[in-house]
């Protein structure tokens, strides 16, 4: 069981499961019983502030680091090295040969994955087209902008069409165009029924992308599950209507009026309440010209679960996290 609050749809069994991951570097506990589930066909976000332990967890998933305790499972059994090498990994810090042409580098990586040169070239070419880099295929990586290099890095992670794609902070430092390209490719990947996990500390940026989330703070999972359900289960969900709502219009078990103003009323919805049902109760008393549901943002969910804002970095920053492999 994943520590922290957890809501799961349970519809599709997860392909990737991490259980009870503990990792300590010297005296510093970096991961404290962290669990994670990645079902196929869904965009899963591993979210939390810098230094929360996201990169360390991803390195453990890939076997780059061996955790002190805990297990990583794939398709219901312990993940093997061969499983891991079939996945695609885009690390936080970009890793490409700067002096190698883009297409050649992608074909080479595809061949390392066991593809033929022809297949590797075909897939790499298609990916470059999808990522808007078809005309830069023969350029060296060092001649590309940061955003372009990032897209090439993504192509390198998925040129072999991996069953699981793991992206560590894929949106860090990207311009909106690159974010859009990345989001499209990610969407296509999961639409094909494959698995995707990405990490980010920019919760507002990935608000619309995540379907499932695992919020991690100071090495512990503080919230995880289906984002829509987590929002529905939140105590910080409001229905805004353009009428002055009296206290007795709505069953307090469903919603309570939190504020009234000239513009209307703001009702706090009880966890799990259907906002439509509350709206119907209000409409029974008067005409509603304008209304809206204010679900908590990812940042608010994090604040609620962790007790501090996400932009308040943890004691150890991400630099230390990158550094995490270091011996004590």
């Amino acid at each position: 069981m994943v520590p922290g609050r957890s809501v799961h749809t349970g519809a599709v069994p997860p392909s990737l499961v991490a259980r009870g991951i503990h990792q300590r570097f010297g005296d510093r506990v970096v991961l404290d019983g962290v669990g994670l589930e990645v079902p196929p066909g869904r965009v899963v976000g591993l979210l939390g502030p810098n230094g929360a332990g996201k990169t360390t967890l991803m390195r453990i998933l890939f076997g780059v680091l061996t955790p002190d305790t805990g297990a990583v499972e794939w398709d219901g059994r312990l993940a093997t090295d061969d499983d891991r090498r079939s996945w695609g990994y885009m690390p936080q810090e970009r890793g490409l040969y700067r002096d190698m042409p883009v297409l050649e580098q992608l074909v080479w990586i595809a061949r390392l994955h066991g593809l033929s040169t022809a297949d590797g070239r075909a897939r790499a070419t298609r990916l470059l087209e999808q990522l808007g880099l078809a005309d830069r295929a023969e350029d060296k990586v060092q001649d590309l902008s940061g955003g372009m290099a990032q897209r090439v890095q993504l192509a390198a992670a998925m040129v072999h069409e991996p069953p699981l794609l793991v992206l560590d902070e894929p949106f860090a430092g990207l311009d909106p165009v690159a974010v859009a390209f990345l989001s499209d490719v990610i969407g296509e990947h999961v639409a094909a029924g494959r698995n995707l996990l990405f990490s980010s500390h920019q919760l507002d940026l990935v608000e619309d992308l995540c379907e499932d989330i695992t919020l991690i703070d100071r090495g512990r999972v503080v919230l995880s599950g289906n984002l829509a359900q987590l929002r529905a289960a939140s105590e910080e969900r409001y229905l805004r209507v353009s009428v002055q709502v009296e206290d007795d219009w709505v069953d307090p078990a469903l919603a309570t009026v939190r504020s009234r103003s000239a513009a209307g009323s703001r009702l706090r919805l009880a966890p799990g309440t259907d906002p439509g049902a509350v709206l119907d109760l209000v409409r029974a008393h008067g005409r509603v010209d304008d209304f809206g549901v204010e679900a908590p943002s990812l940042s608010e969910l994090f604040l609620d679960a962790a007790g501090h804002p996400v932009d308040e970095p943890n004691a150890s920053d991400d630099g230390a996290e990158v550094d995490a492999g270091r011996a004590p």
């Binding site: 990994y89 690390p91 970009r94």
Partner: protein, 390 residues
């Protein structure tokens, strides 16, 4: 999923392809080729086939000596020292002295009693010796004629065949030269390749390429592929340098004594030495992640290599070298040199090669462990002890 070997091959092939793109590496190969070609061709071109040619002035003076006969003897004796002589007459000693000082002639001979040879101090020693001998010979001929011998009898006496010179231990110098050249080539090549491997590994670590690649392939192929790729690049450089030597041999040219055997026999140690040093250099390169740290991290290996080089280049047949021939770190440079000077026995070669193979196997394992553990530990320079102890 690729096999271990296929991954190693792909990594090595990438190194080769990148090397082929590097203008610097092509420039090095061309310099080596041209330098080697020059070393093969120039000595023959510059070989001094022309005989020395001397100008000698003779002051006849009041001497009773027969001038034509003397000139004939001078020409003969100077010819014996592989030189030609142009004889001229000077009116008097002062004029001859001035001609010598003005370097109009090399030497002047005044036929006084006794004759005087005029020469600027410290020059034309061989010519002076030849002239003294010619004067003495002419005096002897005159004496023999005076004593009643006929001209034919004198000629017969003087035409006795000259002594033959037998040079001893002529091969030693060329064998020592071959040993020196081999040690130098091995030293330079291994040193350059060590730095290249350490540098390549460190840069990949610094650029986080290794993290991407480690998610795809095992650490072994990454390290071994790089070592093999760069070693092949190094050997191709070596081949560029060796090509003129081979061409010269095919065209019937002469090589220094011992070089051929030493190259053929030494190739084994050469390959083993490259494997040993480069594997360790790769592991050491994984301890750092900046290019400028890469050459310093292989410094301890460099010291060992330098010591091995001096042992191989300078005293290949010494007792110390006999011991170092068994040490895997020194045998790559000492052994070919010992083969060159003919100091290596068959047993020594077999034992030394075996020890080197064992050392390479052990080095591959240790280097693999250090590389695997160090390559993901970024942020600061690591120590081998930290890595092995973790």
């Amino acid at each position: 999923m690729t096999s271990w070997w296929e991954a190693t091959r792909l990594v090595a092939a990438r190194e080769l392809r990148q090397a082929a793109r590097s203008k610097g590496l092509w420039a090095t190969a061309i310099v080596l080729l041209l330098g080697s070609a020059a070393a093969m061709v120039l000595p023959d071109l510059l070989a001094d086939d022309d005989r020395d040619r001397y100008d000698v002035a003779i002051v006849a003076g009041d001497a009773t000596i027969e001038l034509d006969a003397l000139e004939s003897v001078i020409v003969q004796i100077v010819d014996a020292i592989d030189a030609d002589v142009e004889l001229s007459q000077a009116p008097d000693v002062d004029a001859a002295r001035q001609q010598v000082l003005d370097e109009d002639v090399d030497v002047a001979v005044a036929l006084d009693e006794p004759p005087v040879i005029l020469v600027r101090a410290g020059t034309f020693d061989r010519l002076v010796g030849a002239l003294r001998q010619a004067l003495a010979t002419q005096a002897l001929i005159d004496g023999l004629v005076d004593a009643g011998l006929s001209a034919d009898e004198v000629d017969a006496l003087l035409s006795a065949p000259p002594a033959e010179v037998e040079e001893l231990d002529t091969e030693r110098e060329s064998r020592q030269g071959a040993a020196f050249v081999l040690s130098l080539v091995a030293y330079v090549l291994i040193m350059l390749l060590m730095v290249a491997v350490a540098n390549g590994v460190a840069v990949e670590k610094g650029n986080r390429i290794s993290e991407v690649l480690l998610a795809i392939v095992r650490p072994g192929p990454l390290l071994f592929g790089k070592v093999i790729g760069l070693a092949v690049v190094g050997c191709l450089h070596l081949a560029a340098g060796a090509l003129p030597v081979v061409v010269k041999v095919l065209l019937g040219g002469n090589l220094p004594e011992g070089l051929g055997q030493a190259v053929a026999g030494g190739a084994v140690w050469f390959a083993l030495g490259i494997a040993l040093y480069l594997l360790l250099a790769g592991a050491l390169g994984a301890l750092v992640e900046r290019q400028e740290e890469a050459s310093s991290v292989v410094t301890p290996l460099s010291f060992v290599l330098i010591a091995a080089y001096f042992a191989g280049a300078t005293s290949a047949d010494s007792p110390v070298a006999a011991v170092l021939a068994y040490v895997p770190f020194t045998s790559p440079m000492v052994m070919p040199s010992r083969i060159a000077v003919g100091a290596a026995s068959g047993v020594e070669m077999a034992v030394s090669a075996l020890l080197s193979v064992v050392a390479v196997v052990v080095a591959a394992r240790v280097a693999g462990i250090v590389y695997r553990r160090a390559i993901v530990r970024t942020g600061r320079r690591l120590k081998v002890r930290d890595v092995l102890g973790s």
